[in-house]
């Protein structure tokens, strides 16, 4: 080709390419350019985000990030993970250090409205509880007057605990340590009487770190609502839609009975709902500036919501509880994909 033709071809491409991704927002563009999504996760919480013995991150929060990568790139492996403590997590997201915060973060008013961040949905409904050693013979949280309670700083846990004890006219002594390893050490060596965090965290910690799990009892009182969900920055509606509909696709897939194992044969299913889901009909991918097979990729490479839960949380002894689907007795509900 002559120089003029190549220059013309380049000029045309320069016009066309930006137009093709004109709908995508700054975060998606940045991720596409980098070639991966930077995902903020917990430093190590069994079931949610924890590196395994090979250094691979595993957990339902990790699965959500992988699902977003599957939707955006078609490859669930295009992720880098940044472990964040409770104190660092919001600043990391606000400053742009991570693209998504998927770190068992409770959706609260102050965080949604006051930090310049958006919660895109709930991937786990939880509540706060207390764990004590069985030796103490404590049957209820109302017997904890005067106890020393281990907690991590900068969490809703600290605030809920203070509110609960105030409301019940009890006193307590907080032992506030930032690193999870250290605060658990303080509880297991007896420095504190009680350890408090979300019930899912208590179950995970007891299963993973107690020398004898039956020595520790989780008290029946659940003192707060803790809906966990992924968080993104204000000002990027496209990214918000992408992450939100990734979560909904995983829930919808479970509702439609699509799993990572049967999605390939189900793709041939003539049911129009399934056809729309796998991208055989309709242009849903284009609306999100991603491939039409975005939902198929999510289910094939990561799995549906139930598979993710069963893979990571069920082995710890966590029951699905209210995290079941809406038509199976729980409250997991996805708007229709149409």
């Amino acid at each position: 080709m002559t120089i003029a033709t190549t220059t013309l071809a380049r000029a045309v491409l320069l016009f066309v390419l930006p137009l093709a991704s004109a709908q995508a927002g700054p975060t998606a563009d940045g991720a596409l350019k980098k070639g991966f999504i930077q995902c903020g996760v917990n430093t190590g919480l069994a079931g949610f985000a924890q590196p395994d013995s090979n250094g691979e991150w595993r957990g339902i929060d990790v699965d959500l990030c992988r699902a977003v990568a599957a939707a955006l790139f078609g490859d669930a492996k295009k992720n880098r993970f940044t472990p964040l403590t409770a104190q660092q997590r919001f600043t990391a997201l606000q400053s742009g250090e991570v693209d998504i915060l998927s770190r068992n973060t409770t959706w609260t008013f102050a965080r949604d409205a006051g930090l310049g961040l958006n919660f895109v949905g709930v991937n786990f409904y939880d509540g706060q509880g207390f764990m004590v050693t069985k030796k103490r013979n404590v049957k209820s949280a109302k017997q904890l007057n005067g106890a020393a309670i281990c907690v991590q700083p900068g969490t809703t846990t600290e605030l809920n605990m203070a509110d609960y004890f105030r409301a019940n006219k009890m006193k307590f002594k907080p032992v506030v340590i930032e690193k999870l390893e250290e605060v658990l050490n303080a509880y297991f060596t007896g420095r504190c009487d009680v350890f408090t965090t979300d019930v899912s965290g208590l179950v995970a910690v007891r299963a993973a770190r107690a020398t004898n799990p039956t020595d520790h009892v989780i008290l029946p009182e659940v003192i707060s609502k803790e809906p966990f969900g992924p968080v993104v920055r204000h000002g990027d509606d496209h990214w918000h839609d992408l992450v939100r509909w990734t979560l909904f696709a995983m829930i919808e897939a479970e509702e439609l009975g699509l799993t990572s194992k049967n999605i390939d044969q189900q793709a041939q299913n003539t049911n129009p709902v399934v056809q729309r889901f796998v991208g055989a009909t309709g242009d849903f991918g284009k609306m999100l500036s991603v491939d039409n097979r975005w939902a198929y990729n999510i289910v094939k490479q990561v799995g549906n919501y139930g598979e993710s839960f069963e893979r990571h949380l069920t082995p710890l002894g966590l029951d699905r509880g209210i995290n079941k689907l809406w038509n199976k007795g729980g409250i997991m509900y996805a708007p229709p994909l149409r």
Binding site: N145, A148, A162, E178
Partner: protein
Amino acid sequence: MARQLDTRQRAALYQILLVAAICLVGWYFIRNAVDNLLARRIASGFNFLFREAGFEIGESTLISFSAADSYLKALTVGLLNTFRVAFLAVVFSTFIGVAVGLARLSPNWLLAKLASGYVELLRNIPLVVQLFFWYAVITESLPAPAQALHPLPGFFLSNRGLAIPTIVTLLPLEVEYPSLSGFNFSGGVVLSPEFAALLLGLTLYTAAFIGEIVRAGILAVDRGQYEAAQSQGLSQAQLMRLIILPQALRVVVPPVTSQYLNCTKNSSLAVAIGYPDLVSIANTTINQTGQAIEGIAVIMLVYLTISLAISAAMNVYNQRIALRGART
């Protein structure tokens, strides 16, 4: 026709240009931060200080605190806690440092070697590791409250801390004794293991450095002073106390000032072992309100003020002990 500026005018011009450049850079950073905060609708301003804190603090010095108090009061509690541990660490590490410095110069071989070992070990291990060590030792070696050690009447030592009886009123003498009720000791004052570990770690660490500075100061005193003192018939103790140490002081005071500042700033490692100092509470505040810039500004301002105050005080002392007529 070149305009000639003399040296002084040129110097003035450069200084003006430099100040202008710094102001410009500063203005750019502030403008950038404010614009970004506004764009992302992140709250700014110091009004959050008057909102209810909502969290409890494990221990506080002198003033009492509850979750219904403001963030400002919480930060004040943090500040007082920092003062308490930093002040005590500075005082104790000075005494121990002088002892270690003298020990290292002692003619007694064992004493000198022990002191050297102490200095080498503690200077080379990171402070946060030492703090974890002391915290683990204290919490794991002490018994639970139900089996607390009872060395003196009214004193209880357990892994929750040292419970001490307090004097409620002086006349008539009324003492409040700590007693075990339910989970912990109530009544009296409790010295928490976090405070003890932090104080111990900071003191021993800083004392190692001060020991070396004291040794340097003593070695800096002229040999002639020793001989002159011995010819006057002064004993070893009098020699040290009246002749050597006062002269060593001139060499010792400036570096020891640095060590005091380091000690104060190192107390911010409290967050690793759960002692509620200023940085720990400010971090919690930042996380709850999302206002990172204001929170960090408060921390920086407080530490800057403390450091400048310590430096100023030490400089005054330095001036007073300086040799009259020598270089100022």
